[in-house]
Amino acid sequence: MMRKENGQLYSLDFLISVGLLVLAIGLTLNFYETTAYQEKEARTRNELNTIALTAANILAAKSTCPEAAFSAQGYRAYGCYDRAKLSGISKSDLLIPADMSCLVKRGNNIENLKAPGCAQSEPPPTTTDVASVERPLLVPATAPLTKTTYEKCIAQACDSYVEETLTVKVWR
């Protein structure tokens, strides 16, 4: 009489290979999720940077130095603070979309340059993506800046103007 033997249901090799397969699938999915997240972040940053750069360029284009003084030598200079030209520039003038927030400031003081439609405070600490563009700006001390004064001040320090930073921040 033959002894009845049970068939082998599983092997250790099979268990190990299943474990490795699950590990490989998990790693692949994790890699895909990480890559997709990084791509999304890169797209968001690219968009914010483009909008912030455009807004900063518009502000810089409006920050022309006194034409009569600088154009005498045949060129136009940018980067001079002119309250009359820069005050009142709104968020829509800076081509910042309505669903985005912005902040424009001269130096470290937000009060110096308020753009209607933009925020009057720094972005919340919880904001993850903020694009910031900075431009140097010459703020005349008293009289409008002339080319002669500017060239003299390059050679030696003077108090005819103060160099500040114009900052544009954009976030969503």
């Binding site: 033997e5 082998q8 483009t50 810089a60 284009a61 829509s92 081509l95 910042i96 309505a98």
Partner: protein, 150 residues
């Protein structure tokens, strides 16, 4: 049965599990594929919108006349067709909108609003630089001039 022999019951159980798994994966992939397609269309619309926006911004910044060709939507390889894509620039509303209709008639759009485009001029170079109407709707891949009014 002898040692090492697979039983027919186990084989049938494995086949049934494989079939069930294949059905689950297939249904998951179908929804996943639709979502992926929608997201790809949205990303494409956003990329085209950003390109148009950047060009208009450059014309406004530097007071230049720019002869600009808008990006085309990617071709849909399954049907060998180019997706329908429309760019609408509305100076009155201050908006730029990009709409893409994919090969499966799924549409995605992206829009920027609240922009001051009042000093932007659009001209048609094919029509002797004639002023384009407001709002202007053009297909992706169209060429036109963008400049800032003096």
């Amino acid at each position: 049965m002898q040692k090492g022999q697979l039983s027919i019951d186990l084989l049938l159980a494995i086949i049934a599990a494989a079939i069930l798994f294949a059905v689950l994966v297939n249904s998951y992939n179908q929804n996943f594929e639709a979502e992926l397609r929608g997201q790809n269309l949205k990303n494409e619309a956003k990329a085209i919108l950003l390109d148009v926006y950047a060009t208009i911004g450059s014309a406004k910044d530097y007071n230049q006349s720019i002869l600009y060709t808008t990006p085309k939507a990617k071709e849909r390889s399954e049907f060998n067709e180019t997706a329908q894509c429309t760019i609408t620039i509305d100076k009155g509303q201050g908006s730029i909108t990009v709409l893409i209709i994919g090969a499966y008639n799924d549409a995605q759009w992206n829009r920027y609003t609240g922009l001051n485009l009042g000093d932007i001029i659009l001209r048609d170079p094919v029509n002797s630089d004639a002023l384009m109407p407001d709002p202007t709707s053009v297909g992706c891949g169209t060429r036109f001039k963008v400049e800032r009014s003096p």
